[in-house]
């Protein structure tokens, strides 16, 4: 084909997707609706890699020990860049006006002093626990979100979840099929070459056959006029990724569940307070949430976005105006289905004696309870499936009630 016009390529690839039986997994997804009320729920999991400083994102400005511990980077309700008061005790980072608006509209909530069962301070083990859903870093090769898909009642199964990015995050890896998408700009291989390769892989390398088929399926469904990467900063990039994912998920036959990860939250030095490095990243996250909202349109009403991180950071700033690896942190919920306008916390206090190992915010809520509560409310998963399959050996962490409308 001499004509290199991209639109032609897009059109022909889409024709292939809808026409080829081998690509049916995604194209013919059954409509998933909750039988009881006809809702068509969606769930987006956003993983912040690097351990978000929860005390700088939702600051306990009412805690008398906070300002002293967090020192030069502490948020305050007054000053040049005042934090946004969520209630009389907690204040939101000023880089997150969209989240603040959702919160005021009762469509966003914060869970504070939360943590997975992991109590050490390795990013990679912490992420392993966060994403695998096991109580310890067991190096398993499946994630809780994938097992949640498997646990859905037959007939209502969401047959493919969306992994955003060039690699599938652990949380979504496993036996249930997933589809991947990442925004890129590259001329596409033509359909005939792709089909021949899929055929070769089917005979010689089934794992590659399945990976390639899935990769081919989604590439254009997500794309629109504005999906070309543009020069820009991390904030723009986070928005762009969210916009593409939302577009896919808004479709009637689109995936109902997606997972994506943003890196860069390991703020060891020069973290910044109301402005600076963390503020910059939080602005990106805030923009991504707004993109989910606008991109999902009508579907936003039935959506929950869960934002989680592997652990928190030290309550006290370190010697380089940053924070070191800690324990307790926050989780954020956003979406039209969230029963919001609340900071949910059994606040442990920041007195030295109350800190975990004398240095970290002590976790009082199990993150698994939060996620289980969302999974149960959105997809009707049983207590037992949640305690045994999705989060093995987690019966003690009861699903949190009332997170979803």
């Amino acid at each position: 084909m001499m004509d290199c016009c991209e639109n032609r390529l897009l059109t022909s690839r889409r024709g292939l997707l809808l026409g080829g039986a081998s690509f049916a997994a995604w194209a013919y997804l059954p409509k998933f609706a909750r039988a009881a009320d006809g809702r068509d729920p969606r769930l987006i999991v956003v993983i912040l890699r690097g351990a978000l400083d929860g005390l700088s994102t939702v600051a306990p400005v009412g805690d008398p020990d906070y300002a002293g511990l967090h020192g030069s980077i502490a948020l305050a309700a007054d000053g040049a860049h005042p934090a946004i008061m969520l209630d009389s005790f907690f204040a939101l980072h000023p880089a997150m006006p969209e989240f603040a608006r959702m919160y005021r509209n009762m469509h966003a909530a914060v869970i504070h002093a939360v943590a997975t069962p992991y109590r050490d301070r390795s990013h990679f083990d912490g992420q392993d626990v966060l994403e695998s859903g096991y109580a310890g870093p067991g190096r398993v090769q499946s994630g809780w979100l994938n097992r949640a898909l498997e646990a859905l009642p037959r007939g209502e199964r969401v047959s493919s979840a969306l992994a955003v990015g060039p690699t599938t995050p652990l949380v979504l890896r496993g036996a249930a099929p997933t589809v991947g998408w990442a925004p890129v700009a590259l001329p596409q291989a033509d359909d005939d070459t792709a089909m021949r390769l899929v055929d070769l892989y089917r005979h010689r390398d089934p794992a590659l056959a399945s990976a390639l088929s899935q990769g081919l399926q989604l590439e254009k469904a997500a794309s629109g006029d504005d999906m070309k990467p543009k020069p820009g900063n991390a904030v723009a990039q986070m928005r762009q990724v969210a916009r593409g994912a939302a577009k896919l998920m808004a479709a009637d036959d689109g995936p109902r569940i997606a997972a994506l990860a943003f890196d860069g939250w390991d703020t060891h030095a020069n973290e910044g307070g109301p402005v600076g490095r963390l503020a910059f990243l939080l602005g990106g996250l805030d923009g991504a949430l707004a993109e989910f909202e606008s991109g999902l349109g009508e579907r936003w009403r039935d959506t929950v976005v869960v934002v989680a991180t592997e652990f928190g950071r030290t309550a006290r700033i370190n010697g380089t105006d940053g924070t070191d690896h800690g324990t307790g942190t926050i989780a954020l919920l956003a979406g039209g289905a969230v029963k919001g306008g609340r900071v949910i916390s059994d606040w442990p206090g920041l007195k030295l004696a109350n800190l975990y190992e004398g240095r970290d915010l002590k976790p009082t809520t199990d993150l698994r309870s939060v996620i289980k509560g969302v999974l149960q409310a959105q997809f009707g998963l049983s207590d037992r499936a949640l305690a045994e399959t999705v989060f093995p050996d987690s019966a003690a962490a009861r699903p949190m009630k009332g997170l979803v409308t």
Partner: protein, 522 residues
């Protein structure tokens, strides 16, 4: 000796960077004496060092970066005075300009976009401008859409020169085993070029200076070279870490940063669960306070060189892993590192990672145990470690199930097509697209090393797109069946051979060959 094409595939693909189309002899040599072919590179004197015209030392590069930063600053100040919008003397890419971007690590799923669109815009104009290069995508973008090429600044030029030297070596070398070892250790002790201008400037020099000289030497020496290299100290913030009771700490009311100490134990030596505590992390952080590099003023030494800053060093003895290290200044940390390098957990951690990289995601325990013993017995002799791997039967018998990483895939393709890169731009772009931007992993644990990471749907689809572009550009002059002989000879599967034979064009055949399991698995 009998010709064994299957073993040749192992020799070239598992241990090396794949067969070279322009030197088909390598597959024949590998098939005649597979182990000897791989090991020959281990015995080449100074074969791992990389010297190329124009590559400079870390202090020289540091000074060039400082000078460039001064120049930018002066230009901004002059512009501000004149009341005109500030402009750098030579335009630079957005990511290098923004202080926020300097500090962040790259966003994993944004890596692709940020990199191609952001600081790697440096590569774009040049690459789309019809440069003859094997890896260049056939640009479908109309010429009008291209931004005008901008001159590269010294940091971008340096990064590209370092990248080019590494790529040329990987393309030309006979087997590629030692280059694969360099990539392995460089990823084990990774830094990220996204940390800031100095990291980008130093990324290549770090590998040349701290990794290469020790790849066939002692682990303890590599460890010391790495942890004292300005690039690593900068990447993990140690130049900012001050002993709380040191003179500088007292004066400046600043203190410890545990970042480097933690990653030394967790990622570089003992591994998670390797038997250290939070207290050990803090203790090691205190021990290595003062490990820094001289700044632009050169008060402590030649700007850009490693220095031990006594003023920043925490005074007094420190307890670490059950042993007390007396206050001996720089020697205190060196003694601690030497002990950690020799720790049984380190031997286990390194052996496991080594076997996982070269043999299988689930490393055969017997082989891990043997390599661990070799590591212990030889006090971390890395040549002995590599030799033991090649001598093991497991490494030759295990099925070729590992996915080539994007870097391996691109280099192997370039070798097969006999294209020596003259410009690194296309490689850099494609590495960004495939989620493995050169010297820029998302975190200090480096790029992943398992099939789950590299056999993901999006990654494979993108590889196909890249292979199709290469096919479109180069397929015309190539007989794909000849190339299949160079790549795999009679170890190629019937299905692969048939698929290539039946392709509707040479271009398509080449794309299919590059994507065949024989080229993707190692």
């Amino acid at each position: 000796m009998a010709r064994d094409s299957q073993a040749a595939l192992v020799a070239l693909n598992r241990f090396g960077f794949g067969a070279r189309g322009g030197a088909s002899g390598d597959l024949i040599n590998a098939a005649t004496d597979p182990r000897g072919f791989v090991k020959a590179e281990l015995n080449r004197p100074n074969g791992v060092l990389l010297e190329a015209p124009g590559l400079q030392s870390t202090p020289q590069l540091g000074q060039a970066a400082f000078a460039y930063q001064d120049q930018v600053k002066q230009a901004r100040e002059a512009a501000a005075k004149a009341g005109t919008p500030a402009e750098a003397p030579s335009p630079q890419a957005p990511a290098d300009q923004k202080p926020d971007n300097k500090l962040r690590r790259n966003l994993s799923l944004n890596t692709v976009m940020t990199e191609i669109a952001g600081q790697m815009a440096e590569a774009k104009p040049a690459d789309n401008a019809a440069k003859p290069d094997a890896m260049q995508p056939n640009a479908a973008v109309p010429p009008a859409a291209k931004p005008a090429p901008q001159p590269l600044n010294v940091i971008q030029k340096t990064f590209r020169a370092e990248a080019l030297a590494r790529l040329q070596r990987a393309t030309l070398v006979e087997c590629g085993f030692t280059e694969r070892l360099v990539v392995f250790w460089s990823n084990h002790f990774c830094i990220s070029a996204n940390k800031g201008e100095l990291a980008r400037m130093w990324a290549g020099a770090f590998e040349r200076e701290a990794i290469r000289p020790h790849v066939l030497g002692r682990f303890a020496d590599m460890l010391k070279a790495v942890e004292q290299h300005p690039a690593m100290l900068f990447f993990l913030d140690n130049q900012q870490s001050l002993g709380p009771d040191s003179r500088a700490g007292q004066n400046r009311k600043r203190g410890l940063n545990e970042n480097l100490a933690r990653e030394i134990m967790e990622l570089h030596t003992l591994g998670v669960g390797g038997g250290y505590t939070q207290e050990d992390v803090t203790s090691l952080a205190r021990i290595i306070t003062g490990w820094s590099f001289a700044g632009r003023q050169g008060q402590l030494g030649t700007p850009g060189s490693f220095v031990f800053n006594t003023n920043a060093h925490q005074p007094g003895p420190q307890a670490l892993l059950g042993k007390t290290y007396e206050a001996t200044g720089l020697a205190q940390g060196e003694a601690a590192l030497a002990d950690i390098a020799r720790h049984p957990s380190t031997a286990n951690f390194i052996a496991t990672k080594f076997v996982r990289h070269f043999v299988a995601d689930d490393p055969p325990p017997s082989l891990v145990a043997r390599l661990r013993d070799v590591f212990v017995k030889t006090d971390g002799d890395l040549k002995a470690l590599a030799t033991a791997l090649v001598d093991s039967d497991e490494a030759w018998k295990a099925p070729l199930t590992k996915m080539r990483s994007p870097y391996d895939f691109l280099v192997a393709s370039g070798r097969l097509l006999a294209r020596v890169p003259e410009d690194p731009g296309a490689y850099l772009n494609n590495l960004n697209l495939l989620g493995q931007p050169l010297w820029t992993p998302a975190g200090p644990n480096g790029f992943p090393d398992t099939n789950a990471a590299w056999a993901a749907p999006e990654g494979i689809k993108l590889r196909l797109d890249i292979a199709a572009q290469m096919g479109a550009r180069l397929g015309n002059n190539i007989d794909p069946l000849d190339l299949l002989e160079f790549a795999a000879a009679d170890a190629a599967s019937t299905e692969t051979r048939r698929t290539i034979e039946r392709a509707e064009s040479r271009q398509q055949a080449l794309a299919l060959l590059l994507m065949a399991p024989e080229m993707q698995r190692r």
